[in-house]
Each structure stands twice: as structure tokens, then as C-alpha cells.
Subunit: 111 residues, 2 copies
DNA sequence: ACAATATGCAACCTTTTGGTTGCCTGTCAA
DNA sequence: TTGACAGGCAACCAAAAGGTTGCATATTGT
């Protein structure tokens, strides 16, 4: 098996606000080039953006297509979907239980 | 406004596998003490676990209740729920669109 | 009272992360 | 063919993250 799990790459990729922003911008306008994406993040070099995109690609959150001298970036929402289903879903299902535990604990702490 | 957004704290907290594991274990057995949680992570000092718990608490993913000399940790799934609703939800909704973009791009790349 | 237990605090260390600069490669257009 | 344009690669750097050790503090049971 992998040294780092697939889910871990996705969580780590999503941990950075700049990368979440890149995903947001691809969602709004899919298939942008590196330079187009750079234009939306002033105050950051092209290489920095390129590194973020590489991390997103490693996590399979984006796919790229080379078209001549430019590289088009496409959002792949599948890993986000899987994370939501497999991991967040568990917590969704136990939401009310956990809150009732919490409430009980806080009440008994008041005694 | 805050220097770091609330959502950012949650994403950052979820970025570490040990912390996700702690949440998992609290979900299975809510209200554990620090030492109980340490027992489940062999090969890590109590202080390391304590730091992870502090980060989770900072992100509001757990709430704590002091009970005598021990501190009980309770899962708070609400931030996870909010993340799922506000952020992941957007990507869920655009899932098919993005995939169709991707497919089109890959096809035209084959010409 | 006192020893054991449960946790907190702080300094310190190493690795990872996010970013930069500088230069190289490939592609298009005149 | 020769610039200009889009992007890749590698070295380097500062700051943050993850972890440790050592000591301090508060609570509890005997």
C-alpha cells in the first residue's frame, strides 16, 4: 500500500487557503492555464502557483491537459466527493449523538 | 475580522492524520480523557497528543470539560458539518459539470 | 500530610511547507 | 530564424508544524 494514503493527500491539499482558492476559481472557470490562474493571485510568483497546482494534481484534485505551449487545468471534484462520503459522512451521521453527549457533559459539569 | 478564518482552522486541523484519528476515536467513544486518548496512540508522547487536542479545540472540533483532575474531550461535529455544507457542497453540485469539462478536454487532446 | 495521578507550560529540535530567485526548455508568430 | 511567450526545474530560505524532554501545578486516595 502507499506510504501516504490517498485521503491524506486530499486533506493536506485542502489545508491551504491559496489552494482552496485555486479550486474555487477553477470551479468558476474550468480549464484555465497557469498564467490565467496566476493573474488571479497577485503578489505571488508563477512558480509558487505552479507548486500549488502540482500539489493539487498529486492529490488528483485537478487534471491537466497540455495544449501546445500552454497547460490547461481542470477541476476534478471526485476526491472531494469521496472524502465527503467516506469520512465526513460518518461525522454527519453521529452529529446529534455527539451533541447530546456534549450537552449532558456540560450539564453534569454544572452540579 | 479574524486573521485566520474559522474554516481555515478546521481545514488545517483536519490536515493531520493523527488528529483525524483522534476525532475518529472520540466518535467511537466520546468523553475520553487525555490519558485514555494517549493509550490509543502508542509511540507518541502525552504532550504531542495534548498539542493535537489543543489544535482540535482551537478549531472548535472538540469541546472539553474539566472534571476534577482530568479533562474530558467531546467531539463537536458541527464545524465538519458546516464545512461539508458550505464548501464541499459547492463542489458536489458542480460535480457532473466539471467531469464533463474534463472529458471534453481529454477528448480534444486526443486529436 | 504525602505520594501518586492527570494535566499544563515552555524551551528546544528537526522536518515540512510555502515562497523566492535564477536559469533552462519548448512552442508559436512575424 | 529569431524573439517573445508559456511553462519546468533546482537551489535556496524563512517560517510553521510536529515532536521531544524537563519541570511545574492541581487533585485525589490512603
Amino acid at each position: 500500500m502507499d506510504l501516504v494514503s490517498k485521503a491524506d493527500l486530499v486533506f493536506k491539499a485542502l489545508a491551504d487557503a491559496s489552494r482552496r482558492d485555486l479550486l474555487d476559481r477553477l470551479r468558476a472557470d474550468n480549464g484555465q492555464t497557469l498564467n490565467q490562474l496566476c493573474a488571479g493571485v497577485p503578489g505571488m510568483t508563477r512558480q509558487a502557483v505552479s507548486k500549488h497546482l502540482a500539489i493539487l494534481e498529486e492529490a488528483n484534485l485537478i487534471a491537466t491537459v497540455k495544449r501546445g505551449r500552454e497547460k490547461l487545468h481542470y477541476l476534478n471534484p471526485v476526491p472531494i466527493h469521496e472524502i465527503a462520503e467516506r469520512w465526513i459522512g460518518k461525522f454527519e451521521r453521529s452529529r446529534l449523538d455527539a451533541l447530546s453527549d456534549l450537552k449532558k457533559a456540560l450539564e453534569s459539569g454544572d452540579e
